[in-house]
């Protein structure tokens, strides 16, 4: 790890990636025994392990930048987590779950892959090997759901895609306005990542009965966007989620 301090905006940027991955791991785990097939169960359990592995690496880097380890691992209020808003709840149905995790996982990967800093060399390549199959799984599953339950999927995607755009950042963050890009921490602007993200989903659903006309592609509103949490709606995970993330009920089993 380099001795360099990252720009403050970059620390928040990586925190949002890490917290989104933490909640992705949690949501995958919650659905890993409730998926429609054994293959989906196993895939979800595997993805959960991989996301938590990524979180451990990112938390290590964030501790190196001064973030408190206990705070990172859950000693904080729900509204101190900077996860994509679509991950605030597990989703009530399998369709909602898939619509929530797919775009959030892709947005987090786009942000991570855009980082151009020595502390991330090699590590991001390895994470990318895992992410290839996460994202391929989501898209393949979204394709089947688009054929089987287009109306339910469309309704679930509208808030989810807008929330993932919030994680990516405001549309106005181009070469002249994106502070993380301007600091040289990333090689692609938020505006560039958003364009790739929108193109991906428009292409994925182009030949299906799922319409994305109702998606707020301009989200988030910049004046409402919280740069430290990378979201605009002020929401958060629940207290019950926090108990699960902390592992509070399992402390008696901890090896000390």
């Amino acid at each position: 790890m380099s001795d360099d301090a990252w720009p403050e905006a970059a620390v928040d940027y990586v925190q949002a990636i890490a917290d989104t991955k933490l909640l992705l791991g949690q949501r995958y785990a919650q659905w890993s025994l409730a998926a429609p097939s054994l293959e989906d169960d196993i895939g979800g359990a595997s993805a959960a392990q991989e996301e938590i592995g990524h979180v451990r690496q990112l938390f290590r880097l964030l501790e190196g930048q001064g973030r408190d380890g206990d705070w990172l691992r859950g000693d904080r209020d729900p509204d101190a987590f900077a996860n994509a808003s679509s991950l605030d709840t597990p989703g009530e149905t399998w369709v909602e779950f898939l619509a929530n995790v797919g775009p959030a996982d892709r947005a987090a990967w786009f942000l991570l892959d855009a980082i151009d800093h020595d502390d991330f060399r090699g590590m991001v390549d390895k994470m990318g090997e895992d992410e290839y199959f996460h994202l391929e799984y989501h898209d393949a599953r979204l394709e089947t759901l688009a054929a089987e339950q287009p109306e339910a999927l469309q309704a679930a995607l509208e808030p989810s895609l807008a929330g993932s755009l919030g994680l990516l950042g405001p549309a106005s963050y181009d070469e002249d306005a994106d502070p993380v890009f301007e600091a040289g921490f990333t090689s692609r602007t938020v505006a560039d990542l958003r364009e790739a993200f929108v193109d991906h989903y428009e292409s994925l659903f182009a030949d299906t009965d799922v319409s994305l006309d109702g998606v707020d592609w301009d989200a988030p509103a910049e004046d409402a966007w919280d740069a430290s949490r990378r979201r605009a709606d002020g929401g958060s995970i629940s207290d019950a989620d926090l108990v699960l993330l902390r592992g509070s009920r399992n402390e008696v089993f901890a090896i000390r």
């Binding site: 293959e39 196993i42 391929e136």
Partner: protein, 68 residues
């Protein structure tokens, strides 16, 4: 649809049948195989739809003598 999963650990090894997956699409079958059979760092991993496997034996009829 049912798929057969084939793999080899090292380059040059025989490619072996290691199991199966059930999936609604070829794209999902590839992912399921990767996730379900991740106990090795495979050099090669592939899926084949069961319906695309061409049975050779048993059941191959004996060639008939030319009596026409």
């Amino acid at each position: 649809m049912n798929y057969a999963v084939f793999a080899r650990i090292n380059k040059g090894d025989d490619t072996m049948y290691i199991g199966g997956v059930e999936a609604p699409s070829d794209r999902l079958a590839r992912v399921y195989a990767y996730e379900m059979y991740d106990e090795e760092a495979w050099d090669y991993l592939a899926v084949v739809r069961d319906e695309h496997l061409l049975e050779v034996a048993p059941g191959t009829p004996a060639v008939e003598g030319g009596s026409a």
